[in-house]
Amino acid sequence: MEGYIEAISLDDGAIRLTLSPDVAGTVRTSVGQFIEALETGRRPGVLRRRLSNWRLFAHAYPRPKPSRQFRQRHNGWMRESLHASACRIRDAWPDEPTFVLDRAAIADWFAVCGQAQTLYIHRRSPNPLQGSFGHGKAFWLAQVQQYVATAACGHDWQRLLEYDDQQDSQGD
């Protein structure tokens, strides 16, 4: 699939995100599948495997017991937060695949595009994309997340790149 993504920083901290129709369709499908998985606890696919907390969230402590206690205290509201973010993205989906995202919407998109990849790949695997059935979806989710993050950092990121270029040229 050949896709197109553009994310532009706007002056007020918002970004304008434009997706080609096929990328938009892929992301929209993934967001829907992510919402369903959070509601049913099952990932898409023939086997309908569980969407476990450890697949979404790393262990918080070096030792298992406090990590389990952390999960009991936090993973519930964390899943609910992701579900709410995904629902907001779905409900605000426009007719044309151009989105103006304010700061709250940027946070929703970043979190959901990152975490929805866990439906298709194991993020802590040494080679996350290998052998996974939905690696195309995961790829485009990662791309959109990357564009959103870069645009959200906006002019600061551009200044940093220019500074790095100056340092490199002075070192040559």
Partner: protein
């Protein structure tokens, strides 16, 4: 949690100890993504976030902050994990 015992030990030894929040390297998150999350969660400027991301990439992890309160450290870890970052905490 044995927080009370640890507080006593800290007073006896005279050494300040705290809960450290750590960010670990992974094969998924990019420098730009880490910078964005660190700005959102901690208010860390993009340039400092890039330095932290570089440290994580080169050494495998970086300490993002140290907190007296376990609850506060857990709150930061949960927020970072919500964005998909591999964050942990430990008593140091």
């Amino acid at each position: 949690m044995s927080g009370r015992k640890r507080d006593v030990r800290r007073r006896d030894s005279g050494v300040t100890r705290a809960w450290a929040v750590l960010l670990h390297d992974d094969d998924i998150n990019t420098v730009e993504g880490v910078c964005y999350v660190l700005y959102e969660v901690f208010g860390i400027p993009v340039e400092n976030g890039a330095h932290a991301a570089a440290e994580v990439s080169s050494t495998g992890s970086a300490v993002l902050g140290q907190y007296e309160s376990q609850e506060q450290a857990e709150s930061f870890v949960a927020q970072l994990q919500l964005y998909g970052l591999c964050a942990t905490m430990k008593w140091v």
